[in-house]
Every structure is written in structure tokens, then in C-alpha cells.
Amino acid sequence: DAMVIQNPRYQVTQFGKPVTLSCSQTLNHNVMYWYQQKSSQAPKLLFHYYDKDFNNEADTPDNFQSRRPNTSFCFLDIRSPGLGDAAMYLCATSREDRGFSPLHFGNGTRLTVT
């Protein structure tokens, strides 16, 4: 039973064409995260929501935005994708906004920019 679901699994977009990735969770966790992962590298945190409070990482480009309309859903919007934005995008949840609260990841959306 998938608990963190990401759609689509694969997304192809054109250079500069806005794209939205979606994530839903059935865990009722307070915190939802978006990570970017490039080939065989560690996931890089872009931002997270604690409930409705948005927390942006200092080095996340303005090109990346997020929305969390309710507890279950969170979206990643890339306003003008560049070739360097091609990556796996991972959504994760945790019960609390504390490091010891383990992350539950979705299976990711692999984004290709042509």
C-alpha cells in the first residue's frame, strides 16, 4: 500500500515550459518535503511544509515553488525549467519537523528537460 504517491513517475518537458509535479500522502503526517536528486547523489532539500508553514532552503532557486492546499497534497512547480533541472524529484513526509522523525519517501518523478 503506497503511502506517499508521486505523479507522474516520468515527466518530459521543454526548456522553459512550466511543469507541476504532484505528491499525495495517506499517512496524515504534518510535514511534507521536496528533494531534488541528481544521478547517484544525495537528495538535496528544496523546501518543506510544516502543516501550512512554508520553509524554503536558502539555496533553492526562485524558479522552484511549492503549494500545499491541504494535509494530503503538495505540489512542486518549476516555472521555467532549464536543462540543469533534469533530475529525480522526491517527495517525503514525516510526522514532526524534527530531524529524528524519519522520512517516508515516494518513488519519485524523473524529470527530463528537452
Binding site: 547517484s40 547523489q41 537528495p43 532539500l45 522526491l90 530531524g99 529524528f100 524519519p102 519517501f105 519519485g108
Partner: protein, 110 residues
């Protein structure tokens, strides 16, 4: 910035061999998590270690947290092809942030 260095970055061994993966830092972490990520999937939590010197076992996997809580190791006994994946350690800082290492890509050949 607290960093975690994993070694080796890549490891390819034969089925049945033993191996150890290391996760090192000059900083102290309040706890440390290990994740495994299989190709095309998200990372899955394997274990959390909290106390300095703690050892946890998960079937053929043995995890150890260093006495000073600055490093950790993962030892796999009699590796199997199903152990193939990217192993990520992640340390929890005093500010309750999660810091990932860059991962160890493990391949077990039949």
C-alpha cells in the same frame, strides 16, 4: 555546515562476500539514519541509531554508531544481489536538521 562523507562511493563485489560502508564526519550528530534506495524508487529507512556505541542488526546488516556520535558503519554479511542499491546515511544535527551523505552505490554480482 555539518558534512557527512561516505566511503566508498562505489562498491562492486561478488555474491557471498562481506562488506563495510562508512559514514564519517567531524561533527557530532544526535542520531543517524540509514536508508537504502533501489533504482527508480525512493529511499527507504533501514534503521536509526541514537546512542554512541549502539549496534543494531537487521538480518545480515549490522549498523554501528560511533562512540563519539560522529561516524557510523554498515556491515553486510554474505551479500546477495537483492542488497544492490544506493545506501545513504543521514545525520540529525543539533538544530534538528537532516544532513545526507552522498551515498554508496553498491552492486552485488551473482
Amino acid at each position: 555546515t555539518q558534512l557527512l562523507e561516505q566511503s566508498p562511493q562505489f562498491l562492486s563485489i561478488q555474491e557471498g562476500e562481506n562488506l563495510t560502508v562508512y559514514c564519517n564526519s567531524s561533527s557530532v550528530f544526535s542520531s543517524l539514519q540509514w536508508y537504502r534506495q533501489e533504482p527508480g524508487e525512493g529511499p527507504v529507512l533501514l534503521v536509526t541509531v541514537v546512542t554512541g556505541g549502539e549496534v543494531k542488526k537487521l538480518k545480515r546488516l549490522t549498523f554501528q554508531f560511533g562512540d563519539a556520535r560522529k561516524d557510523s558503519s554498515l556491515h553486510i554479511t554474505a551479500a546477495q544481489p537483492g542488497d544492490t542499491g544506493l545506501y545513504l546515511c543521514a545525520g540529525v544535527t543539533g538544530a534538528q536538521k537532516l544532513v545526507f551523505g552522498q551515498g554508496t552505490r553498491l552492486t552485488i554480482n551473482p
